[in-house]
Symmetry: C3
Subunit: 139 residues, 3 copies
């Protein structure tokens, strides 16, 4: 059994940009040379989150609309009133989606479905340099 | 320390069907003969998800209504416009709920609450044969 | 590699109270003397959940309003009709947020962002004595 931790670096535009990070996570598993275990992907950020989806333009557009409707950027937020940084909705969207995703792998490959990709969603309101954490644990 | 991976097979009706898979996950832990560690349950699918709930008919009905109201099947989705498969809402519900659940166990038993069950929710719009992944890691 | 499991005990007021448990989780990692691995935090409860957020009064107020609006306590729930315990909305909020959070640590420290705290949200409608589970696994 071993634990290995690697970063994934991304330049994002924010504004609920959706990025497919499946290949980058698989690359970490490849580099670890582990056969079976879990990959934990983690966002060290309170304005972005992770999930899986069928990564095609329709689903991506629908997901962005979902967040725009459930948690609009245009209304008032107590966070904005206090800090005047305009990303109150980003914090809520991130808290709702969650910062962490754990994916099993066997035979060196993640157990994803055929039409299932791991996505990183950056809810912040300006371009960001992001560093995600991928930690693999297994044997 | 060891890692063991087993499938759980389910025939579902889709349409936001809610299934209690607690016993099936516990069975995997029993079979592993591990005493302490984590069970990671994973849906290799982009139209289904996992969480816990008090599995009784009232909560199950309320949960199904919640998804029907937050993400109705009856409106337009870009996914449907592109692929004409009618399950745009299924993808969003699955992405929001998430495909992964990690539950600790000690003394060979999951640390669930008395009224807490692990549920699999199939949001697809037709019956499906599903194979979930349970990966246990521990000692 | 080793697995260690500890409780975190909390007295809460319920009513979507938001508590910062970051220091309590870090204390478990310190006590374990492990350098690298994952901390899995788990709520053995179907009326509370976990996520991360920037823990400042504005974001906390916004998060509480989000749950009050998406899943109001004031409407009818089938759970309440059947059990007359008035916490139908608590169950849905908990199922949506999720009971489990996995956070990597390296060099004995969690890989959290600067403005990111781990929060426990108690959605129940009365004060509760809660015991969360923190399981650390690593080396």
């Amino acid at each position: 059994m071993s634990v290995q931790t690697y970063p994934i670096r991304l330049s994002t535009n924010g504004q609920t940009e959706v990025r497919d990070i499946t290949a980058a996570v698989q690359e970490v598993i490849d580099r670890s040379q582990l056969a079976a275990g879990t990959a934990t992907v983690f966002c060290p950020s309170s304005t972005s989150g992770l999930t899986t989806i069928e990564y095609e333009p329709g689903c991506v557009a629908d997901l962005r609309r979902m967040f725009a409707e459930l948690l609009p950027s245009t209304r008032e937020y107590a966070h904005n009133a206090a800090w005047d940084d305009g990303n109150g909705h980003s914090h809520l969207r991130a808290a709702l989606l969650g910062p962490s995703l754990t994916v099993p792998f066997t035979g060196g490959r993640m157990t994803l479905g055929t039409w299932q990709q791991i996505i990183y969603v950056d809810f912040d309101i300006r371009p960001r340099q992001r560093e995600l954490i991928v930690q693999v644990m297994g044997e």
